[in-house]
């Protein structure tokens, strides 16, 4: 009897131990990544990096900064996230509120999202490049935004779909029973309930967009300047990091780490901002269901 009891307690402790270890491993990994890029990039990190664009010979170790890439990345990821939002939200509301949640069409569209979600971004890049060749377009900010929009739509749509599916059916019924049309129910009631979820999904999509190197490689091109129109090529942070790391000069490689550190800080601060806003927006959410 006692041996069995001991064994049960041992198992309990072992499993708890494994779970704790995994959690610590993850936290440790995050700290390790951030410290690595911080330590390696520290020597190259300075303010002039943030306020200057790349000058001649920047990739050989001469003067300049990465402001053009920061702005480029923000334009691409920001523009793409907005576009993706305006495309994903109607789809998701349509399949969940206008149609029945488990209808064949809804399941088909969900399946399409899952497939699109799994396609590597280099394939999106190649697809975008083919389209550009067909239309006779050059690599530009606009093309970059459009391709990243394609990358982000499945992420955003899946994220929003997840939250819409959890909206209590009673809320929909309550709105409809007041004589609201399906449209009013979707756009005036359901959307309020899912606002915090939308913010989270947008953040995820934005993070993926700003970190993507493969899809913009062909489509957004590369430049040393801040873009002045949608039709100009534009640099992005991941590509700047890639090109700097690819040089044989240690000082330039350190700049790559500094750039990576800045990219990480940007994503982190946006994440914090999103949390702040999503808290504010969840004020009216109904969650006792």
């Amino acid at each position: 009897m006692n041996i069995r009891k001991d064994r049960r307690f041992f198992e309990e402790k072992l499993i708890k131990g494994i779970m704790r270890f995994c959690a610590l491993l993850l936290a440790g990994l995050l700290i390790l990544i951030v410290t690595t890029i911080a330590v390696k990039g520290f020597s190259a990190l300075n303010l002039s990096m943030l306020v200057n664009t790349a000058k001649g010979g920047f990739y050989l170790g001469k003067e300049g900064g990465i402001l053009h890439a920061i702005i480029g990345s923000f334009c691409i990821a920001g523009g793409a996230t907005c576009l993706a939002f305006f495309i994903s939200t109607p789809i998701v509301l349509y399949i969940n509120v206008y149609r029945k949640k488990r209808s064949k069409l809804a399941e088909l569209i969900r399946f399409a999202f899952n497939v699109l979600w799994g396609i590597p971004s280099i394939v999106y890049g190649a697809f975008g490049f083919t389209c550009m060749l067909f239309l006779g377009l050059k690599a530009s900010l606009l093309a970059g935004i459009l391709v990243i929009t394609l990358v982000e739509i499945p992420i955003l749509a899946r994220g929003i779909d997840e939250v819409v599916q959890h909206v209590p059916i009673e809320i929909t019924q309550a709105a409809l029973s007041l004589g609201a049309t399906t449209g009013e129910t979707a756009w005036k009631v359901v959307i309020r309930q899912i606002l915090p979820g939308i913010i989270t999904a947008m953040l995820l999509a934005f993070g993926r967009g700003i970190g993507d190197a493969a899809a913009v490689l062909f489509t957004a091109g590369f430049s040393d300047y801040i873009p002045e129109s949608l039709m100009q090529p534009v640099a992005t942070l991941p590509l700047v990091i890639f090109f700097q790391l690819g040089t044989p000069f240690p000082s330039v490689q350190n700049r790559a780490y500094a750039s990576a550190f800045i990219l990480t800080l940007l994503v982190l601060s946006i994440s914090l901002m999103a949390r702040f806003f999503s808290k504010k927006l969840s004020r009216h959410r109904i969650d006792h269901m």
Partner: protein
């Protein structure tokens, strides 16, 4: 006893997939009275209630046959906008469900979607209906706070005010007191008694005593079949069907 009919059900059959939920129901619900639909759980009470305002349309795989007339109009007429039917009926759900907005906006939601924009008139409507639901005193200083902050009993009265603000003729209650504490339930019951002179009220309840306290008319369902219906004093005191007798005496539940 002469009674005017408000809702008339003719040969209503409802099934979910292959499961029959309601079988050949024919029934007349009297005007400006409280009708209680009673019966054991799973007997189709809620299905019957939700077919009145066509909320049943939302369920997955539902099939409806038959006719329901509200004010002599068949609500299943092809091409008829369900919003027109739903506007006539306020619904109180089992669990109170405020909309994700402020207390004020919850009550103003209905009038707003039906076209009222004037701020002063909206305020008047909100105040009037919160008073009707006995909630005004408790919330008048925090109208713009989230409705989810209210207690569950207050939320149910808010839902009632919200439903009344659309100026319905009928109030549908789907076990509206089942999630509430005894004091809140009592308040809701008192409000129903007060409202019945002006509204046709249809309540689903599994609490027999509640039906005895409130109902003028009783509808008894069992396994999707209409077993017995009639004035409450008759059905409750002298049930004709053996099944009704057993249910009222607590033999089956």
């Amino acid at each position: 006893m002469h009674q005017q009919t408000h809702i008339e059900v003719k040969n209503l059959n409802v099934s979910y997939g292959d499961v029959k939920a309601l079988h050949n129901i024919t029934l007349a619900i009297p005007d400006k009275k409280i009708t209680a639909i009673i019966g054991p759980s799973g007997c189709g009470k809620t299905t019957l209630l939700k077919s009145f305002n066509r909320l049943l349309d939302l369920e997955e795989g539902v099939k409806i046959k038959g006719e329901i007339f509200v004010d002599k109009e068949n609500i299943f007429t092809p091409g008829l906008e369900p919003t027109h039917i739903r506007k006539k009926m306020g619904l109180l759900a089992q669990k109170p469900c405020p909309l994700p907005m402020s207390i004020f906006d919850n009550v103003a939601f209905g009038p707003r979607i039906h076209g009222l924009k004037n701020k002063r008139r909206l305020y008047g409507i909100v105040r009037y209906h919160l008073k009707q639901a006995g909630l005004w005193k408790e919330v008048k200083d925090r109208l713009y706070e989230p409705a989810s902050k209210l207690s569950i009993g207050q939320q149910q009265r808010l839902c009632l005010a919200r439903g009344l603000a659309v100026k319905p003729e009928i109030i549908l209650g789907d076990e509206p007191t089942s999630a509430l504490d005894p004091a809140s339930s009592k308040r809701i019951e008192e409000i129903f008694k007060m409202l019945k002179s002006r509204y046709t009220i249809v309540l689903v309840t599994h609490i027999l005593r509640q039906a005895k306290r409130l109902a003028d008319y009783i509808v008894f369902l069992y396994n999707g079949e209409l077993v017995e219906h009639g004035p409450a004093d008759v059905v409750l005191a002298h049930p004709q069907q053996p099944l009704t007798q057993e249910y009222i005496n607590g033999v089956v539940s």
